[in-house]
Amino acid sequence: MNTNDKLKDIIIEELNLEDLTPEEIEDDAPLFGDGLGLDSLDAVELVVQVQKHFGVEIKNMEEGRFAFRSINSLGDFIEERIAA
């Protein structure tokens, strides 16, 4: 499974967005605010899930804000950290 697909599954499962399907989450859509409408508690939960599922650490929310713009940006962030 590619990183983006895995992220969508994690978001649906771990953030309890059971009414959504992975197909409904666009790769480029904003995750926070408009778009998916996640909030500050989702952000920190996502940090933990990224650590747990990918072993990638997001050190602070400045880093997090940058990575969490969309599924694409988060996927890229994770893949860059894994490759490094």
């Binding site: 909030d39 500050s40 508690l41 920190v44 933990v48 602070n60 929310m61 997090g64």
Partner: protein, 399 residues
């Protein structure tokens, strides 16, 4: 009794990292002592060692030197209650004759979160049941009532970080309504791995000392402690010729109804609570000498508080004392009430610990130096998870 009748505070007990009793705490505050370090009583696998404000081993409190059948939080609570009752001049015999209620705020003190027990349970081992029994014996309000033979109502408030403030406000209401002669009211919480890991997971802990309201603040440090006030009606304390250290003038409380962990950006709950508290005791901003703010050091909390204080109490000096104590959760509101009263007595407030650089985003900053207090009234306020906002207004006592 009129719902706005002032209630006398005749005794105070307080212990935390800053001191083993109220006097020691206040000496530390005015000397600028900040006793923080990575936790000594427990370890964690986080690569970063987040500092905390732990009560040192040399502070004696009930059962600290022996294996106890009640939890640390309850023991801290009893110790603070003992100091307060002694300070209030209550003899054990009198305490047991009168209707004395107990209202204590806590978070850890009401949580069954013993990791060792739960780990053994999960593994299918046959753990000792002491952990459960100890938890059932450790309800903080109940433990104080039991220890001192108190006969009035008992209430353990679990309102997260505003519990201590709420407990004092609620306890004062019992006296006004005539159901108690006196109330032992306050808060207690111990440091533990669960809350340590919890706050770190929320990414609101600072990996160095907290800097409430500072431009470079990154988050909070946890602490532990307890504080208790003895509350009684003015008639009652006059009858037994006991001076009042302060008067609890009013209590206001409101909920943001916004988010589980973040305060409402417009600070609407805090504004409502402040308005309710000030209206109840017929005071305005001009009457308020200073405010002991919640001031945890998190970017969001301090931003909201600064905006609200600037709007509602412009020109009134404020400070956060969490740089001296850490965030003691259920004890915080009570410890800060104790400090507020002590500062009113001393007619001065210490510098807001950890603050050096004003944040351009914040309209108003705390005091940077020891400051004389103008006025006979002060506010202590707390904001909590779940959106609770609680405000206490205190007036000078008999000194």
């Amino acid at each position: 009794m009129n719902p706005n009748t002032p209630i006398a505070v005749t005794g105070i007990g307080c212990l935390c990292a800053a001191g083993a009793n109220l006097k020691q705490c206040m000496d530390s505050l005015f000397a600028g002592r900040q006793k923080f370090a990575p936790p000594a009583r427990f370890s964690s696998s986080h690569p970063v060692r987040y500092p905390v404000f732990e009560i040192p081993d040399e502070f004696t409190f009930l059962g600290c030197d022996q294996k106890s059948d009640i939890l640390r939080t309850a023991r801290l609570a009893v110790t603070a209650a003992g100091e307060a009752l002694g300070n209030a001049g209550w003899s054990p015999a009198t305490m047991q004759e009168k209707r004395v209620g107990v209202c204590i705020g806590t978070t850890v003190g009401s949580a069954m979160n013993n990791e060792g027990f739960y780990r053994d349970f999960r593994r299918g081992c046959h753990p000792e049941m002491n952990a459960i029994t100890r938890f059932l014996n450790s309800n903080p309000a109940q433990v104080i009532a039991r220890e001192f033979g108190l006969k009035g109502p008992c209430q353990t408030v679990v309102n997260a970080c505003s519990s201590g403030t709420d407990a004092i406000g609620l306890g004062a209401a019992w006296i006004r309504s005539g159901i108690c002669d006196a109330v032992v009211a306050g808060g207690a919480d111990e440091l533990c791995r669960v809350t340590y890991n919890g706050f770190i997971s929320l990414m609101i802990a600072d990996d160095s000392i907290c800097r409430p309201f500072d431009a470079h603040r990154k988050g909070l440090n946890l602490g532990e402690g307890a504080a208790v006030l003895v509350l009684e009606s003015e008639d009652f304390c006059r009858a037994r010729k006991q001076p009042a250290r302060a008067m609890a003038l009013s209590y206001g409380s409101a909920c943001d109804a916004y988010h589980l962990t973040a305060p409402a950006p417009d600070g609407r709950g805090l504004k409502q609570a402040l308005l309710a508290a000030l209206t109840a005791c017929n005071k305005t901003a001009a009457d308020i000498g200073f405010i002991n703010a919640h001031g945890t050091g998190t970017p969001v909390n301090d931003r909201v508080e600064s905006k609200v204080l600037y709007e509602m109490l412009p020109g009134v000096p404020f400070l956060s004392t969490k740089g001296y104590t850490g965030h003691t959760l259920g004890a915080a509101g009570a410890i800060e009430a104790a400090f507020t009263i002590a500062c009113l007595e001393a007619q001065k407030i210490p510098p807001s610990a950890g603050f050096t650089t004003p944040d351009p985003e914040l309209p108003w900053s705390p005091v940077q130096h020891e400051t004389d207090v103008n006025g006979a009234t002060a506010i202590s306020q707390s904001l909590a998870f779940g959106g609770n906002n609680a405000v206490l207004v205190f007036g000078k006592g008999d000194s």
